[in-house]
């Protein structure tokens, strides 16, 4: 059973569901990825891809996004590579939903969700590409997930 998965798609919102589909497929089987961890991976990838599509490629012809997954016994390593503008996912403060309700400025929800669901986040930008690495540690089978 291969433990590596890869998919390259156009950087457009139509691609979001296909990336999530790849992650769901990769989580299936005896890989120790429970439903909660699989959801977290889909959520983090979805939020990161949305940022790349709406900010990284803003004002230029949309390029592509390459998603790779490496399924290891104790963790999943997910990388997203794009060729647009660098958009470093800094860690935002907790969003204030009450402020958002009152139309006061608040920080982004998407980045916050990435930081809340992933265990390690790394961002490397080179002359021609940007690579975001997201690591999700897996709970030992049979334990209660809190992440």
């Amino acid at each position: 059973m291969s433990n590596k998965f890869q998919m390259t798609l156009a950087a457009e919102l139509d691609s979001l569901s296909r990336f999530r589909g790849l992650i769901k497929s990769a989580c299936k089987g005896d890989r120790g990825v429970d439903e909660a961890a699989c959801y977290d991976l889909q959520l983090a990838a979805d939020e990161a891809c949305t940022n790349i599509i709406t900010h990284g490629y803003a004002g230029m012809n949309p390029g592509s996004i390459m998603l790779t997954l490496e399924m290891l016994p104790e963790r999943v390593i997910m990388t997203l590579t794009d060729f647009g503008y660098a958009f470093e996912p800094y860690e935002p403060p907790a969003p204030d939903a009450v402020a958002a309700m009152e139309e006061r400025p608040t920080s982004g929800f998407g980045l916050y969700l990435i930081y809340q669901t992933m265990d390690e986040i790394d961002y490397v930008t080179t002359l021609d590409s940007n690579q975001l690495t997201l690591i999700k540690k897996l709970e030992p089978i049979g334990s209660t997930s809190t992440g």
């Binding site: 569901s17 439903e35 959520l43 599509i53 929800f109």
Partner: protein, 110 residues
């Protein structure tokens, strides 16, 4: 994403199926806005068939809830699955949006 609407006593129930992401959220927002414009400002969003929701869903709910409350109504959420519920909790939305475990529980509130 699939959207269905039905009246239940004085409440309008919008049932969502599939995924709410950056592509589909605006469709949900427009659908809910049309209900409010038609005078239905007591909305229950049935999330029992929503398998995935990103932060795009939060923004949609925020706008719809504001519009409902502006007219003296409200928007409640019902039957969120664990992943969707986690997104709502992590982002603090459970402080501003009323959530109920089942559609019946939510519909009784109005």
């Amino acid at each position: 994403m699939e959207l269905k609407v039905r009246e239940q006593d004085t409440v309008t129930v919008i049932s969502v199926s599939g995924s709410i992401d950056a592509l589909t959220a605006s469709e949900l927002t427009d659908f809910a806005d049309a209900q409010i414009e038609a005078g239905h400002n007591k909305l229950v969003i049935d999330l029992s068939q929503v398998e995935f929701m990103s932060s795009a869903g939060l923004r949609s709910f925020l706008g719809t809830m504001k519009n409902c409350r502006k007219d003296g109504g409200d928007m409640l959420l019902a039957a969120a699955q664990p992943g969707v519920e986690k997104v709502l909790k992590l982002s603090g939305f459970t402080e501003i949006i009323k959530m109920y475990p089942s559609l019946e529980d939510a519909a009784e509130i109005f």
